[in-house]
């Protein structure tokens, strides 16, 4: 293992050279092996302004707090840098969270951060519950009501003034209950009072767009409440926790910060030999590889289970392995204990080529940027090679101990998802359907034949409560077929939908192989004369099937029906949306010059019609037939 002093010059060099892959990988190695204040300070001063981090995503964070958090902030910044993300953190005034949330002119609202954290703890917000000084069941109940009402007021104030996500600390249980070991069995006791507040906070969050509860008590429990608190630092500096555990709180905050906002990693690319099973399939054969009896005793099965859980969360899986494809497929298809099967993987590269080249191909095949890939490989030489030569790809720093692989996979913070939409749950199956479509396309005589044989059905619906999350998610995640790449939170989508000026439609597509779910979004400022297309995007899942033509033709028909004269589109070029660049010109829109960062396009509705593709059936009903 490399020490801080060995890594220091390497990181400084990678930072100065602008080598993003090495800088991120080495920062992760340093931070995960030496999570000290000094290491955090070093990373925070070396990386954020360096050429290596010039293109890293940035998140502006505002921490509202009831206690001292300043020593935790360097750890938070380091946690971001280890994942290739720059957190720009502002800390609210000490114990001033109420004023800052309630006052519309406060620093919180003028800073308008990407996400806000409200870090409170039981001893500050409910001292009578922490100390157990509430003397009667009625006093406990009163404390529960008071705290819930207080937090509700604050959350509602924030939601009324900001569309940004809010991460709210749940409350921590007292280490020792005043009534001793029986306390938690008394309905009106100290322990259940705190639990009741936590239950109500979750309920409160569920009823608001993008308010999330950080289960602070479970975080404390994971590390042990006996170790968590530090009364010496609390008494002298109002820092409640042991300095050794500050990185644990920082890591938990970071998980939420990564998960609110555009998805930063979407695909896990797995090696096979000695990663998903023990041994080498090409040498040891089907009987010889290690895949033990059950998950309790076999670390490889545990790793596979962790990966399968990610698959169920909507993380796309791929294989990149140096192997003969026949050997590797035989293991995946026929080994009786294998949890991961070929249908779980959206792309496979089992060959003897260079892994960075394979990774580039995998990204292209799945239609994601290379920066959406995360690489899992037991071989440190391969990991180093990928860090060097595929600098956009994140590399999981696996330990030598195979027992810990599953943990590393489960802990990886960029695969956290706060909301799981129906599309997330089905994503794996959709990629399997996609492989069937690809085969059909290869066998079709012409592209029109292919479109016809797909038997596509499309439906556009005004956004409703159940689809707001998916609509927001599409704006956050869609990079390629996206005209304006405007990212909207759920609250912003809901505000558009509720406004008189805007309309929001989700577009769902199904075909003979299955339902693609909601894959398109239109946000339009619908004036009497002019319909201005604020957002027009389509998931890469349906690119190349004329769905964009269907969406535009449908929109033109809607606009014409209300008596509007023209559609106005906007194209704002980014590094990733070249596939959408010719869409407006290809559908009869006329260039109307520059506008801001992009170009404007106009379609005069009285001049022509836009043909709806004959091979797509337009459904008017509310539900897509299965």
């Amino acid at each position: 293992m490399q020490t801080f002093e060995e890594l220091r010059p390497l990181i400084a060099q990678a930072a100065a050279d602008g080598h993003a892959g090495l800088a991120r990988g080495l920062a992760a190695r340093l931070w995960h092996s030496t999570p000290t204040l000094a290491a955090a300070g070093f990373l925070a001063k070396t990386l954020p302004g360096s050429p290596a981090a010039a293109t890293w995503p940035r998140r502006r964070v505002f921490v509202l707090r009831s206690f001292t958090v300043e020593p935790i902030i360097p750890a938070l910044v380091a946690e971001g840098l280890a994942a290739g993300v720059v957190f720009d953190v502002t800390v609210g005034d000490f114990n001033a969270y109420s004023q800052e949330l309630l006052d519309p002119g406060s620093r919180l609202y003028t800073a308008d951060p990407d996400v806000a954290i409200l870090a409170v703890q039981t001893r500050d917000i409910a001292p009578e519950l922490w100390a157990g000084t509430a003397a009667s069941p009625a006093a406990y109940a009163a404390a529960v009501d008071r705290v819930t009402a207080e937090v509700t007021t604050l959350v509602e104030a924030f939601r009324g003034r900001s569309v940004r996500p809010l991460v709210l600390h749940g409350l921590d249980l007292p280490v020792h209950a005043t009534d001793g070991i029986g306390d938690h069995q008394r309905a009106a006791g100290q322990i259940n009072a705190v639990r009741e507040i936590n239950r109500r906070l979750v309920e409160l969050a569920a009823g608001k767009p993008e308010v999330y509860v950080l289960d602070y008590d479970r975080l404390v429990a994971r590390h042990g409440s006996e170790r968590w608190y530090d009364e010496r630092l609390w008494a002298s500096a109002r820092l409640p926790l042991n300095a050794l555990l500050m990185p644990a709180l920082a890591a938990e905050w970071a998980r939420f910060l990564f998960a609110t906002g555009p998805a930063l990693a979407k695909v896990l690319v797995c090696d096979l030999d000695n990663t998903l099973w023990g041994g080498v399939i090409g040498e040891d054969g089907l009987e010889g590889i290690v895949l033990g009896d059950n998950e309790e005793t076999c670390p490889y099965l545990r790793t596979q289970r962790a990966i399968l859980n990610l698959y169920d969360r909507g993380i796309v899986l791929a294989i990149c392995s140096k192997n003969n494809p026949d050997d590797a497929l035989q293991a995946l298809e026929r080994h009786e204990r294998m949890l991961l099967r070929p249908h779980h993987f959206a792309a496979m590269r089992m060959n003897w080529s260079d892994k960075p080249a394979n990774l580039a191909e995998i990204a292209a095949e799945i239609s994601v940027g290379r920066d959406a890939l995360v690489f899992l490989d037991d071989n440190p030489v391969e990991r180093e090679h990928v860090m060097q030569h595929a600098p956009e790809v994140r590399v999981l720093d696996l330990p030598d101990d195979v027992q810990r692989f599953a943990d590393v996979v489960r802990r990886f913070p960029l695969f956290e998802r706060l909301r799981l939409t129906a599309e997330d749950r089905e994503r794996g199956a959709m990629y399997a359907q996609q492989r069937c479509r690809d085969e059909l396309q290869r066998s079709a005589a012409s592209v029109e034949d292919y479109y016809r044989s797909l038997q596509m059905r499309m439906q556009a619906r005004s956004v409703v409560a159940e689809t707001v999350a998916r609509a927001s998610q599409l704006t956050q995640k869609t990079n390629q077929f996206n005209m304006t790449t405007r990212r909207y939170t759920e609250a912003e989508i809901a505000a558009f939908a509720a406004s008189d000026s805007h309309r929001v439609w989700t577009v769902q597509v199904a075909d003979r192989f299955g339902d693609n779910g909601i894959v398109g979004l239109l946000i339009v400022e619908a004036g009497p004369e002019e319909w201005r297309i604020d957002t027009f995007l389509m998931s890469c899942r349906v690119i190349g099937r004329t769905v964009e033509t269907a969406m535009l033709a449908w929109l033109a028909a809607q606009a014409r029906a209300t008596g509007a004269a023209r559609l106005v589109g906007e194209f704002i070029p980014t590094k990733k949306n070249a596939p959408a660049a010719d869409t407006f010109s290809g559908h009869g829109f006329v260039s109307a010059g520059e506008s801001g960062d992009g170009t404007r396009w106009v379609f005069e509705l009285h001049r022509g019609t836009m043909q709806f593709p004959e091979w797509i059936e337009l459904l008017e009903s509310e539900a897509l037939p299965a």
């Binding site: 300070g41 300043e70 500096a237």
Partner: protein, 83 residues
């Protein structure tokens, strides 16, 4: 007061430079909260915790408030490690 060994001072300077987010060249054993702009009450707490972590010592709160120069910290670390 005995002078602390140079290597200890050098380690402290590097540590303080990381915590304060400044180049190590800007610090010396004479540096103190009076001379270094980034050395405020918040970064002082960070420095004290960093010293505890780096040297495996425990600094009591009453002592923390006094350790406002590199030289003083170096001497305190020497004594705490000896004790």
């Amino acid at each position: 007061m005995n002078a602390a060994p140079d290597d200890l001072v050098a380690r402290l300077i590097e540590l303080a430079a990381d915590v304060f987010g400044v180049p190590a060249a800007e610090l010396s054993d004479n540096s103190s909260s009076e001379t270094i702009e980034a050395w405020d009450s918040i970064s002082h707490l960070n420095l004290m915790l960093a010293v505890e972590q780096a040297f495996g010592v425990r600094i009591e709160p009453e002592q923390m408030v006094e350790l406002t120069s590199i030289a003083r910290i170096a001497n305190a670390v020497l004594k705490l490690r000896a004790g």
